[in-house]
Symmetry: C2
Subunit: 389 residues, 2 copies
């Protein structure tokens, strides 16, 4: 499924580049340390953590490539996209400088704004983007960022090796609290929409996400995790917010219920495809460094589709290898595990599954009339599985 | 301000007793470990932590005392109070067993339900408790419990000594995620009220609480913290939810705006008095053990009113003592610090401030017609400053 050449490079838009991120970290840190010296240790820690999380090893080598492909997609709703970015900055305002600074830091370092983009394109495909659509798109990004922050605490909390424990602990506090600030600010913005159907759907969505996080926690270390259980977790953790972003935009456009449901299914299937590929990419890329994310998964006892498939079709020896690594939360056997995953065709199988959900997502778009926005939604769906980071 | 004898004992209703808590921990743990073996380590850790937080050293010696006084207060809205408890249990339902179990554990161990009680009594004082009031009271308790869970992660994260780091880290994950579950479940319940004014007020309230938590974090270790800054933090962290509970109940009763504002001020002033006394109690009680909570505050670099006053009026030597302990996050000089706080009259001063806000709260109740519910609200206000734990 890997795509080559120019198009390959264009996918680096899916994450900011190392150098761009480094610049952001530097500039932001300077502002932060000036305005909130108390926060110095927190913020440097957050910087380190976001940089760690935000940049995949597989990105190296594609950093200078142009972003035309994604820029073309954004061009369809360029001014609205800019308004969302501006609103996000405005809405980070707080009379507690630390909140504002950390909030800015997180959002600025955040990257691609894929979820708000989906909401804006859905609105454009159904008519036009209203100021309510702009607000709603910012809401979705705030909720996404809040879940990242809390997920980060959870990942850190379950790490047994890797980052210095003191730092990890030190960094938990602002991650939890700024996450709460973003969550609640999102609900403040939602109230401005005065749309009870959207409030209900977003309350349900955020509750489902929290359940999904706990579910992943409980499943940690369970090598008997099935593909169905994996799909349940990524649906709750990732896909449901894609779905809510598309449904909410359709609701605000006054689309009929059947069409709102179709856009919900589009987002849901796109989100599942997106997450499967995210998990597959941990097993690909630059061989010298690709073990990094897999190593984190092993130390967290987290099984994603490639490992689940390897546990299903791998040789008894390969299954034992994975079982022992998960049980010991150890990366000792990582080279053999990566080899086993490659050997048993787990990558190909996982990409087939991602393609299946990609196809389901595309099918839903057939209900929309032809428009540049629908074309952009198709291209995002294509990108979700045809990317290398 | 200490009150003696029978009435003194009655105040143990403000927290479950050691033995009651031990029973709850045992029963709950049994159910939990049976239904969610994966959660064993998390839950035992949560049990230890909740027990640690929930029971003040000063409680020992009052454990077997009767609860008549608080029971009299609850009697005014006995059946509604029971309905709230039932609704809380019903609303913890989740198809993720771990969520349901941890949720139950937290809520069952939670204790006094003071905030929902204030909402119910406000409703009763203004007419009658509707089913919407019952729902709203449960919402307030869920939000309170969620903030406790997240606050707990933050406290843990800033501890430098005390609990084993591995445990502390291990316990962070379910605290954050179940806190998110309770937060979002509260918003799901609120949506059922279909009252935009309440949704707006609760979104603002939870956002203010998050800001307050960050503010406390930023202020940690600052011995220059002023009384005004302390009041700002406890208003955001504690009092604002008391205020929102009373205002929301008044809004649901269809009270005129001026009366809703009055009930907001009642809750706000009551909450400030309640928190000041909470902080004062850390410096009182059984001398053999009273240093425990103060020790935690010192290791967290947290200054409460008694210390702030001591920094203001204490001798240069006493100020240096506190400054050094906070800077070093050390409990080494705790005996001298407790002595300094006693000597410079910080306890008496702090209790005077609590009394001031207690008086402001009582004054707002004059706007209500006479009723058993108003009498109960007065008695809660009285209890808030006349308790020993």
């Amino acid at each position: 499924m890997q795509i080559k050449g120019a198009e390959r490079g264009t996918n680096s838009c899916f994450k900011p580049t190392d150098s761009a991120r480094a610049r952001m970290v530097g500039q932001r840190a300077a502002i932060l340390l000036k305005s909130a010296p108390d926060g110095k240790a927190y913020l440097l820690h957050l910087a380190a953590r976001l940089t760690h999380r935000g940049v995949r090893p597989s990105m190296r080598g594609h950093l200078a490539k142009p972003l035309h492909y994604m820029q073309d997609i954004r061009a369809t709703v360029a001014s609205e996209f800019e308004q969302v970015n501006q609103l996000i900055i405005d809405q980070l305002r707080s009379d507690v400088p630390m909140v504002e600074n950390v909030g800015h830091y997180i959002v600025d370092a955040g990257g691609k704004r894929l979820r708000p983009l989906l909401a804006l394109l859905t609105a454009a495909a159904l008519g036009e983007c209203s100021t309510d659509h702009i607000k709603f798109a910012a809401v979705v990004e705030f909720i996404h960022t809040a879940t990242l922050l809390h997920d980060d605490v959870v990942d850190i909390s379950s790490l047994r090796r890797g980052r210095p424990t003191a730092n990890a602990e030190f960094g938990n506090a602002p991650s939890v609290l700024v996450g709460d600030f973003l969550y609640t600010r999102a609900f403040q913005l939602m109230v401005q929409l005065a749309n009870m159907a959207i409030l209900e759907n977003m309350a349900d969505t955020t509750n489902t996400i929290a359940e999904g996080e706990v579910l992943q926690l409980v499943r940690a270390g369970q090598t008997a995790t099935t593909e169905a259980q994996y799909l349940d977790v990524i649906t709750r953790k990732t896909a449901i917010l894609f779905a809510a972003g598309c449904r909410g935009a359709a609701v605000l456009s006054g689309a009929e219920p059947a069409l709102c449901d179709a856009m919900h299914r589009f987002g849901l299937n796109l989100g599942i495809a997106f997450q499967i590929v995210d998990d597959v990419l941990d097993y690909e890329g630059d061989p010298a460094t690709m073990g990094k994310n897999v190593g984190d998964d092993l130390t967290e006892g987290k099984l994603t589709l490639p490992l689940i498939h390897a546990m299903r079709v791998g040789s008894p020896a390969e299954q034992a290898l994975i079982r022992d690594a998960i049980a010991a939360r150890s990366t000792a056997g990582i080279k053999d595990i990566l080899a086993a995953v490659q050997r048993c065709g787990a990558i190909g199988y996982s990409r087939e599954q991602a393609r299946h959900y990609h196809d389901l997502a595309l099918a839903e778009l057939e209900r929309l009339g032809d428009s540049p926005a629908r074309t952009a939604l198709r291209r995002i769906t294509h990108l979700s599985i045809n990317r290398d980071h």
